[in-house]
């Protein structure tokens, strides 16, 4: 009995303040967590709206599309359908992840409603070398993907970046990062094309 008393005598402050702090954290979390979740949703929405400008609304069409990666690892992604003012399909967008030079590269890729051409991409997160691999974020590289055919993209070292075809000119000094982006596109578009036909026909048929 005296042992317990001694324990309480020593640690009552600790116990009471743990309780108070726990309460404080819980209250703060409850107050702000809706905002935090809204922020996460907004981030993706803003990026996708930047890619598909006519879009007013995004909804998830297909969840959990499985894309095989290296060494059999499977990453899941959701395909979002962009709807414009009249409610018809303005395109599709999805998050794509792949290995870059330094670390994983996370992209948001948009394709048009018929899944025939890419509408472009934005980098969600990457850790590439500043001044070199980092330049995948620049327009020089990104614009080559706009209206490029959806599938079978190839990286070339020299060529005309203005011509929009399936040849993508690499960033000088950042071949590995450029190659990584092209690989991500190719890997995901096949799977996405497989999954979309049924849904596509449904919306266009309406």
């Amino acid at each position: 009995m005296s042992n317990i008393k001694h324990f309480f005598h020593q640690s009552w402050l600790l116990i009471i303040s743990s309780f108070c702090f726990g309460l404080l954290i819980a209250v703060t979390n409850a107050a702000w967590s809706p905002r935090i979740q809204q922020n996460e949703k907004d981030k993706l929405n803003n990026l996708m709206t930047g890619l598909i400008t006519e879009a007013r609304n995004f909804e998830i069409t297909i969840e959990g599309v499985e894309v095989p990666g290296k060494k059999g690892k499977i990453t899941k992604t959701d395909i979002y359908q962009a709807l414009d003012d009249s409610g018809s399909s303005a395109g599709f967008a999805f998050v794509a992840i792949g290995a870059g030079f330094a670390d994983k590269i996370k992209l948001v890729i948009a394709v048009d409603a018929k899944c025939e051409k890419f509408l472009g991409f934005k980098v969600l997160s990457s850790n590439e070398t500043p001044g070199f691999g980092d330049r995948i974020k620049e327009d020089y590289f990104g614009n080559q993907f706009k209206k490029a055919p959806a599938g079978g993209l190839q990286l070339v070292k020299t060529g005309d970046p203005e011509t929009i075809d399936s040849e993508i000119v690499a960033i000088s000094g950042a071949t590995v990062s450029s190659e990584a982006v092209v690989k991500i596109f190719n890997a995901y578009i096949d799977k996405v094309k497989q999954q979309l036909p049924e849904k596509e026909l449904k919306t266009n048929g309406q």
């Binding site: 702090f21 726990g22 954290i25 819980a26 979390n29 060494k71 059999g72 290995a99 030079f101 330094a102 670390d103 070398t129 590995v176």
Partner: protein, 196 residues
């Protein structure tokens, strides 16, 4: 075989490519303070490796068994730091009782390690990278400790020689150590892209 491959790649990556000191800026305070002599540096490195492996494993377990997916997730930081402090305390008591000679060589480092950013930093990175199996977490924690030890021993070797060189008065001590660390970082950057 595949698992072994992933583990080996993970280990090499955290020792060389994503070295905690040189690329993530963790563990700088003890790094600057203790890297004066190689034997002290090695002792500190070993102590850190010991603690970080233990903490990494424990925090991963707590994270995955209790915290993820429950409303308790918001107390993650509090839980992690308490676990780390507790682990360090336990390790210190255990080592003092059963390996007194080892305790002598660790010296005052063990209690100091609790505030070592590297330990909490590693636990948070394991959470950030979404490592989803225990073996990988253990290997990464161990690798982080080894990486830190390697970094601190290299620095100690260089500093022992620097003591004999003609360093300007205002740069002696911390400044020249930082500049040396910067150059080491530059050297280690050469390892980037080694693993795809």
């Amino acid at each position: 075989m595949d698992t072994l491959n992933i583990l080996l790649m993970g280990f090499i990556s955290i020792v060389l490519i994503n070295n905690l000191v040189f690329t993530k800026f963790l563990g700088i305070c003890p790094y600057l303070g203790v890297s004066g002599r190689i034997d002290m540096a090695f002792g500190m490195g070993m102590a850190v490796t010991f603690v970080v492996t233990l903490s990494g494993t424990l925090t991963w377990l707590i994270d995955h068994l209790i915290l993820i997916g429950t409303p308790l997730e918001v107390t993650r930081y509090v839980c992690f730091i308490l676990v780390i402090a507790g682990a360090v305390q336990l390790v210190e008591m255990y080592v003092r009782k059963f390996f007194p000679s080892l305790y002598e060589s660790f010296g005052i480092f063990l209690p100091l390690i609790t505030t070592n950013c590297a330990i909490l930093g590693l636990c948070l990175f394991i959470n950030l990278w979404e490592i989803d199996n225990l073996l990988e977490a253990v290997v990464l924690s161990f690798g982080a400790g080894i990486g830190f030890t390697m970094a601190i021993c290299i620095m100690a070797g260089i500093r022992e020689n620097l003591n004999l060189a003609d360093v300007p008065e205002c740069l002696k001590g911390a400044p020249i150590t930082l500049i040396t660390a910067g150059l080491l970082t530059l050297a280690f950057m050469g390892f980037a892209g080694m693993i795809r």
